[in-house]
């Protein structure tokens, strides 16, 4: 009956992630509002708490348009590729470990972090195919930008994460968290963490790296032509990706469910959620503060700054580990 258990876990997690997405969106609008001296959404329900429901209803009932120049099959397929790759990561993210050896996750893959990279790689297709299939020039430009940006930053991201893998000596996410019981990897891998954080923002196409959307130049980038539910799927995918990179940052650099200062009286899952929330807050904070990069600067930054620094960090980590071990 293990498959039934997995199914129940998946359904539960799907529900949790969707709800988290909805409230992450509200959280973002609220925080952004406060940072811009506005109250944020406050009309639907108390303090605007029912705003996600209103948005969902609106999105579901909007007309789903397909442009006449679009390639209908790919156009319809692309949002699903985005969504599936965004949700796939949650199959292996470990949430907590209430008792030693009893890890809360759907599946514990040994090559966990690599699996997440694989899914990120698939996620690029949703963006690039969607932009191409829209059959109009802004989405095409947006998708070409997105493809180049995501591939470029994925390299630096992988490099920064490999440092952690070297220190932890394992690719399993749970194993990495176990290795952080004494000290969180953000301290020995501070440069790695900084690079991961920056590349994660770029990877999820959020401000200040939202060149893909760049409202001022590209209307809305790759999803300009999308409307209704299909737009909603892209939208969900973007936020779920943000949650994913926050979860991964927590697992790799902030000790996962390990309690800081030995405050173990608060359960690990709470710590995990708090840390993820902190990262989401940081993303929103960045978005409210930073202006958008210029595209050539973005590529130059990725290839000429982040990648070399990440590689140097990797080499230094390897040398230190080799000398000490």
């Amino acid at each position: 009956m293990s498959w039934l258990l997995v199914l129940i876990k998946s359904a539960l997690l799907l529900f949790v992630v969707i709800t988290t997405f909805a409230y992450a969106m509200l959280f973002e609008r609220k925080i952004m509002g406060w940072m811009q001296l506005r109250p944020g959404p406050n009309r639907v329900g108390p303090w605007g708490l029912l705003q996600p429901a209103a948005d969902a209803v609106k999105m579901l009932f909007k007309e789903d348009l397909t442009p006449s120049t679009a390639d209908p099959l790919i156009y319809k397929l692309a949002p699903f590729i985005s969504l599936v790759s965004a949700f796939g990561a949650y199959a292996i993210i470990p949430w907590s470990e209430p008792r030693p050896g009893d890890i809360w996750s759907i599946g514990n893959v040994n090559a966990g972090i690599l699996f997440i990279f694989a899914l990120t790689a698939i996620g690029v297709y949703g963006v690039s195919l969607g932009g191409w299939a829209s059959g109009s020039k802004y989405p095409l430009l947006g998708s070409v930008r997105a493809t180049a940006q995501m591939i470029s930053y994925e390299l630096a991201m992988t490099m920064s994460v490999i440092g952690v893998l070297i220190v932890a000596g394992t690719t399993s996410l749970a194993g990495i968290v176990h290795a952080q019981q004494r000290i969180w990897f953000v301290i020995p891998q501070l440069i790695g963490f900084a690079i991961y954080f920056v590349t994660a923002v770029a990877e999820t196409n959020r401000a200040p790296f939202d060149l893909v959307e760049a409202d001022a130049e590209l209307v809305a980038g790759f999803h300009t032509e999308y409307s209704g539910l299909r737009f909603g799927l892209f939208f969900i995918a973007e936020y779920v990706n943000m949650l994913t990179v926050s979860c991964v940052a927590t697992l790799l650099f902030f000790g996962g469910w390990n309690a800081p200062f030995g405050w173990t009286f608060i359960p690990g899952i709470v710590w995990f959620i708090l840390k993820v929330l902190f990262f989401i807050f940081c993303y929103i904070w960045l978005r409210a503060t930073m202006p958008r990069f210029r595209y050539d600067r973005l590529m130059a930054f990725g290839w000429k700054v982040l990648l070399p620094v990440a590689t140097l960090n990797l080499i230094a980590t390897a040398v230190v580990v080799a000398v000490k071990g």
Partner: protein
């Protein structure tokens, strides 16, 4: 140091990184500031008493209309939003103290720029701009305010706004006879169309 920016390439870069974090700190501080936003439909802003909003036609203390149908406001209006058609007072039906009164007084609030020139031009202080500003509607025709909505009702005294009178504004403005005579709400609003009608009507009244 020149303009607060340190010299040297490396130092400049470091300064820029510092600037990023200072920016973040500033924005973080903003989060806890008092928000100047007013929760508009539930909380309304109190405008200054001399704010230029919706017009109203006032009366004298004895209930007579101040407007004498001189059309000075219509002439002064830079947006041509006001139409006045005067008529003679008769001993049996005295509307205003003077010889004439405004048989028809209409302001197109879509054209009005709320400059207050009408107010200044009026010799009897009949037309004034009130601080009220909520006039939105779904039909363009309903933005033509005629006497029934502009004139302060007699029972409300000299200057109570029309929408605070006991009956309130008529629910279906499209059925107000005065507006119907000059515009066809169903056909939509057309300034030219309205102008033509008014011209013929004026000619008829004059001749």
């Amino acid at each position: 140091m020149k303009n607060g920016v340190p010299r040297g390439r490396m130092r400049k870069h470091l300064y820029n990184v510092g600037a990023l974090f200072r920016g973040l700190a500033t924005v973080f501080g903003f989060m806890f500031m008092r928000k100047p936003t007013i929760g508009y439909p539930s909380v309304k802003k109190q405008h200054a008493p001399r704010f230029h909003g919706l017009h109203e036609l006032r009366r004298y203390g004895d209930g007579k209309e101040r407007c004498i149908g001189c059309e000075l406001c219509a002439i002064a209006c830079p947006a041509n939003a006001i139409t006045v058609i005067g008529a003679e007072n008769t001993p049996s039906d005295r509307r205003s103290p003077g010889e004439r009164y405004a048989a028809r007084y209409e302001i197109d609030e879509l054209r009005c720029i709320f400059c207050g020139m009408c107010e200044e031009a009026c010799p009897t202080d009949a037309i004034v701009l009130t601080p009220r500003f909520e006039m939105s509607d779904y039909r363009r025709g309903s933005f033509i305010y005629a006497k029934d909505r502009l004139l302060v009702p007699p029972e409300a005294g000299v200057g109570t706004p029309p929408d605070e009178r006991p009956g309130g504004i008529p629910a279906d403005l499209g059925e107000v006879a005065e507006i119907k005579s000059t515009t066809d709400i169903d056909k939509g609003y057309s300034a030219t169309y309205r102008g033509q009608i008014l011209k013929t009507q004026r000619r008829g009244l004059a001749g």
